[in-house]
Symmetry: C2
Subunit: 928 residues, 2 copies
Amino acid sequence: MAGLYLSFLFQLFFCLLLLLHPSTGNALVESLQSCPATNPSMLNVHLVPHTHDDVGWLKTVDQYYYGDRNNIQHAGVQYILDSVIDQLQKDPARRFIYVETAFFYRWWKQQNQSTQRIVTQLVNEGRLEFINGGWCMSDEATTHYSAVIDQMTLGLRFLNDTFGECGRPRVAWHIDPFGHAREHASIFAQMGYDGFFFGRLDYQDKARRMKTKEMEMLWRASESLTPPLADLFTGVLPNGYNPPEGFCWDQSCDDAPIRDDPDLEDYNVDEIVQKFLNAGFYKANHIIMTMGSDFQYENANLWYKNMDKLIKYVNALQAKGSKVNVLYSTPSCYLQELNLANLTWPLKTDDFFPYADDAHDFWTGYFTSRPALKLYERLSNSRLQTCNQLEVLGGPKSKSGPFGEGDSDTMSKAMGVAQHHDAVSGTEKQHVAYDYARRLATGWAHCEVLVRNSLAILSGSEAPRVFCENLNISVCPLTESSHKFSMNVYNPLGRTVSWPVRLPVNGSVYSVTDANGRAVDSQVGNVFISLKCTCYIYDMKSSCLLPLLSVRWFHCLSPHRNINNKSVLLYVFKFLKVTFDETTGLLSSLTNLETNQTIQLTQNFYWYNASAGNNKESPQTSGAYIFRPNSSDPFVINKTAETQIVTVSSTVQEVTQWFSPWVSQVVRLYEGHRELELEWTVGPVPVADGLGKEVITRLDTDIKSSDYFYTDSNGREVLERRKDYRPTWELKQTEPVAGNYYPINSRAYIKDDKHQLTVVTDRSQGASSLYNGSLEIMLHRRLLYDDYRGVGEPLSEPGDFSDGLVARGRLLLTFTPPDTAADVHRPLAQGMVLQPLLSFQDDSYYELEHQYQAKESKTHSQPVTVNLQKLFSTLDVLGASEMSLGANQWKEDMDRLQWNAGNNYPSPWEVTLNPMEIRTFLLRVRQL
Amino acid sequence: MAGLYLSFLFQLFFCLLLLLHPSTGNALVESLQSCPATNPSMLNVHLVPHTHDDVGWLKTVDQYYYGDRNNIQHAGVQYILDSVIDQLQKDPARRFIYVETAFFYRWWKQQNQSTQRIVTQLVNEGRLEFINGGWCMSDEATTHYSAVIDQMTLGLRFLNDTFGECGRPRVAWHIDPFGHAREHASIFAQMGYDGFFFGRLDYQDKARRMKTKEMEMLWRASESLTPPLADLFTGVLPNGYNPPEGFCWDQSCDDAPIRDDPDLEDYNVDEIVQKFLNAGFYKANHIIMTMGSDFQYENANLWYKNMDKLIKYVNALQAKGSKVNVLYSTPSCYLQELNLANLTWPLKTDDFFPYADDAHDFWTGYFTSRPALKLYERLSNSRLQTCNQLEVLGGPKSKSGPFGEGDSDTMSKAMGVAQHHDAVSGTEKQHVAYDYARRLATGWAHCEVLVRNSLAILSGSEAPRVFCENLNISVCPLTESSHKFSMNVYNPLGRTVSWPVRLPVNGSVYSVTDANGRAVDSQVGNVFISLKCTCYIYDMKSSCLLPLLSVRWFHCLSPHRNINNKSVLLYVFKFLKVTFDETTGLLSSLTNLETNQTIQLTQNFYWYNASAGNNKESPQTSGAYIFRPNSSDPFVINKTAETQIVTVSSTVQEVTQWFSPWVSQVVRLYEGHRELELEWTVGPVPVADGLGKEVITRLDTDIKSSDYFYTDSNGREVLERRKDYRPTWELKQTEPVAGNYYPINSRAYIKDDKHQLTVVTDRSQGASSLYNGSLEIMLHRRLLYDDYRGVGEPLSEPGDFSDGLVARGRLLLTFTPPDTAADVHRPLAQGMVLQPLLSFQDDSYYELEHQYQAKESKTHSQPVTVNLQKLFSTLDVLGASEMSLGANQWKEDMDRLQWNAGNNYPSPWEVTLNPMEIRTFLLRVRQL
């Protein structure tokens, strides 16, 4: 069972779903039957009216919803939905798709019953179709799969609860994200989507696919899952997500409207029709045309009025022999036609990273942009899981208890928008980044009340509780002022973890005991020059999965100060030995004491000089999206580090390295741990020299990795990368650094036959391996120019003191033979995602997930079987039904379009999880 | 009868009116009864949702209608009407007013029956109300009253025919024109409007009126008509025509929407409501708030959604003691409330020219801007009258006859839009000015066919006819190539005129005879250096008014060339003697030989240096709107003129004066005429020296005019002007030249006890008298800077050769005692407006008009009585009913709001016309 972990998706609405929406297969059939008629002997042009509504970018999500701050960008989603619903009613042929449930949900709440009835009717008739349907259109490079599933589920469940089966999106639609992760495709497939469309892919890849007619393909999105479980029909849209040139009729466009008054001097019908017919279609029998773009359809009449005319006048030519048939359609109707065509599609097995839209325009900067926001989002994910768990464990009183009214919804929604491709990606304007952070903070404030209530219920004590938000910078007023205090550690993981806790305290002597009064092995040490003490506390081990979540009590008393010196250059505990170079102060080697293997390891910090654009090759600058160093050779921050041993104790050893006033690092080794922790601090990045800086840390080893390295996809499966190479086409490499960067969400590694060095990260970052044995990770960026992708600001986060943001983070290094590496890095990475909260667990339904990839671990890459009734010992499980991954559909009802391959779903009761499989069940429970 | 002239308004629809729209007084009552309830104990804030839709300005009228060229300006009227109609249906409380019938007419035609029914219902219920209702919102400074009445009638009749009484606008609405003419107010009063609202008046006047609460008044708009015939309630809108600051919710605005989701961080209802309550209202019980602006309501939902909320939340405060009541309203509902208040209003008897919006920002440049367009518009007016007359005279075959399909509608509509306050005003972009000219040309092309057909019917000859469009520059291929040709002169005036005709011919010997073969007194002379001959032909006098329109045949043969010399410096014919100064070549005196009176008269040409703005006083430049010379002293073009006698004959004497390569003049005196003609040619105005130039001609005399001078209002009544003075407030003069300019549409004069020098013009121009005995008229302008009023271009017309436009025109000078001056200048000015067409008349209904102002002529300023049955000898007049001036209402049904004065309408059968009266009758006729 050691390879099986459980994560939780909390859903309030599961009963409603059962009560209100029994399987309505007929409505679905009706919906698809309502697809417009096509003409098999003609070229059918599917016009897909759509709007792309970022849940934050240049404006905050609220500003976008209400149409506030239109001086920044004209965009008001409330009006878009008002207008589209009006216009759809004018003609049953008209169709519209809507994507972002965060906006639709809010709009729906504000409508009266009459409008809601009309909208429901439009949905039932397939005239308004939800596409994608998550809370947002998530970023694919910088999101963690758990948060992606959460946000998709949040949106899909709302649609399901509101519209039943007819509201279920059948097509995934990521028209804007800047590169596409295989794990996203895998998730979509498991959520029951029949197909996936996107807009952006590498320009070389696109050119090739246009030529070879491989714009549409079957994406086999997992190496682990049995096909077709993770197979997803995938189409690249011909024109990004925009209309063809000259046919943009939104209020935001300047294209000529169709002027069909024959009395008019400016009559232009013939000219427009001819231009349309000359638009150069694919040679297929069907083509999809995206008629819309960012925040379009605020005044939908403009679009529909002109499209009505276009359809009328183009189809009128059929009487004169034209073979073009234009129709209003939707991606699912288009997809259905492709499916009926029964063709064989090319297979895709890797992913679509990195994305470049020109030779020097690699969108690999955003993998790292806004590192503090990226961390905060990840931390919030952990907190939300905790909050959800405590909401269930504490029961109804957790939401309204001794500490007031609390909820997890606010946090769910804040996390929902934070997954957006201009949110955690770091590509939004500064004021919007602040807004996302504020939302997460507000979400946590609501959760805090809930957590306080729940802990009061669970502990039986209503004593006030404090959460220390600033422990990462060693600030906690309570622990610093109190001579005696107790602490709860709530562990949201479904298993025991050993987790270091550092508390700032003012006294020098503490005794630390657990809830039973037993002494806890702890250490009080110096924290930087503030002379604050740090109390290291380890969570107690619990021997099994049940009870899943445990509350531990610690009493910190009587610390003693440790005198530092600066001579020890060797670390050693049970599992690892670490050496430092005496001359440079840098790491010099790593030894795995279990396997008795050693590598040379040098680690240092460098910065690439961000390009300001040049006349010779390209004006492209480095910016929030784009990474473009103006040289492939980074500057070293310092060849040597000033090194200081902070702590040497029986539980932890730490060394601080100073590289410059704005770059430092603490190297930590914990007793009983297999990883080496590198806590880096970078910033404020100085730019007074006029040079934008992109700061990396590089690990140089004697591992014979050649050009290969490995990066995870959304924190799940790992993909092999190869320098200056793409698996599916012959790459002409034009950016030797930026063109080799890939996103990492949880880990990266290099390996050879004997050794594997894995780095587990605390947030999403960009990473690469440019030299044999080398692995580099970008940590922070501060730039001076906008990169011309719309954000209109240089990425230069001001930080608290307007002199530049300080970022701090952790890299966990594991060094093992390749065949046992996953046994270490999988739990390590998961522990990074779901962190203990210094304060408690149960749930409605679980995602049972297999966390190991096929073949990566001899021990754990094996199917695991779980008994659902035994799993929840504190709840009376009345029944269990497996659902699609997005929990908006019964698994047995999943009736995805078939793409010429047999189907093979296992029957769900005793549940077997294959490697990398996630399965979702709806449990009907009664609290015991 | 000599003082009575008839002009014609042709209306196709008069029968329809009778058949379809019997007087529907009940619907009107219903419409006014449908005004929203107000609260007498509160301040009632009337929100008036409106859009201001220029029929051409930065874009052409077609581009505005369809929303084309949105890169220039975002504006699409078709969508505005679509959207407003949709939104009005959502809530019966919502209201909207629509103004420009040119746009509404076109939109209406494109709607299906269902939409037409809905709109009719909205109109009947007073939810959609037509305001003003002319084809356009005419300019007031540069339009001729006849064209204004035509364009108003065109719009009003459409509304009447379409919606009956409920479609009749009760309020005139000139929110944008740049100054307001008394004649316009008089016309509106006579058309039955109950009130008039406008937005722009002199900033000093406005400040004073705000202080003294005289923003609303009774305008007595005629010195001649018996009150209250030309009395008009007039209100100045508090905020131009814009919404109060912070309350603009159009898609084109950036004001914050009302964010009333209480879960939202950005909730702003309280703040907005408070801001609204603090907006500083008038102290009256009712206030009007214009909620809209240029081309707004393209997406009406934005406006209504937020206004709905504003009304809801502001009125909700009444429960807490607030005394503010907000409601959707219309100008007529607001007006009704003011009328019910039964207050006494200040009286206004002068006009609102010139308009200044700041100390150095006098909108007096547009009086002259685009002189060629202004002439072409005036000429087109004459042609349209001719076309209308021949359409009736020729009967149905005139529209479909031997020369094809012709119509007058195209020209009517082209003239309708040409009256717009950014059309004939000259304040549109260059490409739009070209479009207006193109429309007039197209209009005339349609008329030409009609005229050819009609003349063929009337003459019995289907021989092809040619119209020579370029006679003003002496080009006519037919007359230049043919040795024998005949010519028709069609005289659209209701009386005999003597009119010189100049034809370019190639031969040197012509004999000219009339239709009866009698020799015509003619003269063949040299035309410039081209050696072309000119054939002067005079229309034959006819002795009475009937038949109204006469066709004359002339045969030009055998001209002889006249040898020029350069010595004669004295002109004399029967009525006038003109002398030139031998040294300077300039005019030196004028003698009226009938009255034996003489004045010294010097005339020369000057240019003001257009201001480029300065840092000291104001950055204001001279531009299309604004006249701002950078010095009060103009530069003289030349102190002396090179003079050449062109012709001395028994019918005409002419002298050409050359002032510079770009300024010349022909001075002409015709036998039998009382006026001296000055044909000026100005251009291309050189600007290579970097100086914008505003060219004037100035007449300096020894008339003791002191500071007084006189200018006409829209070609009708004349107003006294006084330098540096305004009749209604103490002027602080800040622009000694521009602040003394006034528009003239037909004439200006100076006078003392004995002498009056009157100048009759061929188009609208700006004029002033800055010195005792002096009168100046601005002829042409070429500028280098935009003047920051939106047009975004400097006024620098390129002309045919891109080196600057050449303008040519005529000033007719009459010199008489003051008490007989009108006897000369009235017919002279009318002849200038309705010019004979070299080619052919009947009608449906007439405007009987008295053309003399009260007391200005002893002979003619007397009531005149006409017998309508005798007037139309060629038609069988079955009945006659008097109508309002806009011909959209029976005169007896006119039930205008009363403003505390008795009413006194004479009974209409034997019709008596008092000075300056225009009366409109609908005649039912049968062709004899």
